[in-house]
Symmetry: C2
Subunit: 213 residues, 2 copies
């Protein structure tokens, strides 16, 4: 019985890693689609978000079954509670990657990135990809060191988010309302992606230490 | 033992209702602050979001304790899982109310609502308040009819969200980049508030019927 239980916990962890890997791929592709106005890659992100939604729902069902049948306690229970929350965050990260990709598709063949903000968005995209990759790492290794790294990356992202608003409100851009809307939304999507990555990292901390702080 | 357990479930439900009531009050105040550039009311919303965060964390802890000690199954387990998810959604709704209130504060003494969009945002705010009120109702009464009502209100909200973008990109507004940014963000916050209300309604459906659809 204990062996079956250990196998279930392992299964939950593996599925979380798998979903996080797909999220990492989705944000990488979203960044490419957004930066290069690549509609074919944008479509891939949109399909991936659907797949991730299905996998997250299946993981939730597995978690609820384990809660009902095996009634875990202590850190095992925290992993189950954490899995329910992390699956919601990972699903949301995939949605945000999809939103970023969709901006590229809406504006095609024009670029969704207003002039003067290209470098900033390349950097924001790279930070999101790096955070997603750290999430895969922390889910796989359970190394608490990675949790702090995710938080540090999010601070960098927040700084860039503030910078986008400064630029958007500067004279050069203000003649282009579509650019202002796109930059505002894209920056917000990138920033929220980072927030959810921090959310996943916090859940891993909760699982490992029993505390969210 | 069964009596203690029933009391715990009742306690979870009551706390959810209480948090939802505070969220309803927060979005009402946020709508007032945003519409009337009322900085004092905006401050109240910001304080309320902190209180809701604390209450949600306490509810999560209670839910995890119940899962560990009383090992619920079937619909009782679904209420616990649902409570964990609903508390996250309600907390997020309070954050969004706070973001709306903050827009009013940033622009004070100017209005954060660009000319030509006042009526649309009054309507969006009213829809958010109505959805929050329905969430209180469904948590209190567990009446499945209310779940469908929440979804219908969200459809209206999505239409208004699309309308804001049309207006923002029209000639009249485009000379005002701050207005474009504010309207883009405010519309997105209102829309996301509605999405989370639908999320809570879906969790109630899951609790009542065992299915999310």
């Amino acid at each position: 019985m204990r062996e079956v239980f250990q196998q279930s916990l392992h299964e939950v962890q593996e599925r979380l890693v798998r979903i996080a890997e797909l999220v990492e791929e989705a944000i990488e592709n979203a960044t490419t689609a957004f930066g290069n106005s690549d509609v074919a890659v944008a479509e891939q992100v949109i399909d991936a978000a659907d797949e991730i939604e299905t996998l997250a729902a299946e993981l939730d069902q597995l978690t609820i079954d384990i809660l009902a049948r095996q009634q875990p306690v202590a850190s095992d229970l925290r992993l189950m509670v954490g899995a329910l929350r992390m699956s919601a965050s990972l699903e949301r990260m995939a949605d945000l990657a999809q939103h970023i990709a969709q901006l590229a598709r809406y504006r095609y063949p024009e670029s969704a990135i207003p002039k003067g903000l290209k470098k900033t968005f390349v950097r924001m995209g790279a930070l999101d990809v790096e955070m997603a990759s750290k999430i895969v790492e922390v889910l796989r290794t359970q190394d608490p060191k990675v949790i702090a790294e995710v938080r540090d990356l999010d601070d960098d992202l927040d700084e860039l988010h503030a910078k986008v608003f400064e630029k958007v409100l500067s004279d050069k851009l203000s003649a282009n309302p579509t650019g202002v809307v796109d930059a505002t939304l894209a920056s917000r999507y990138h920033e929220r992606f980072g927030d959810h990555a921090v959310g996943v990292a916090k859940q891993m901390q909760f699982f490992l230490s029993g505390s969210l702080d």
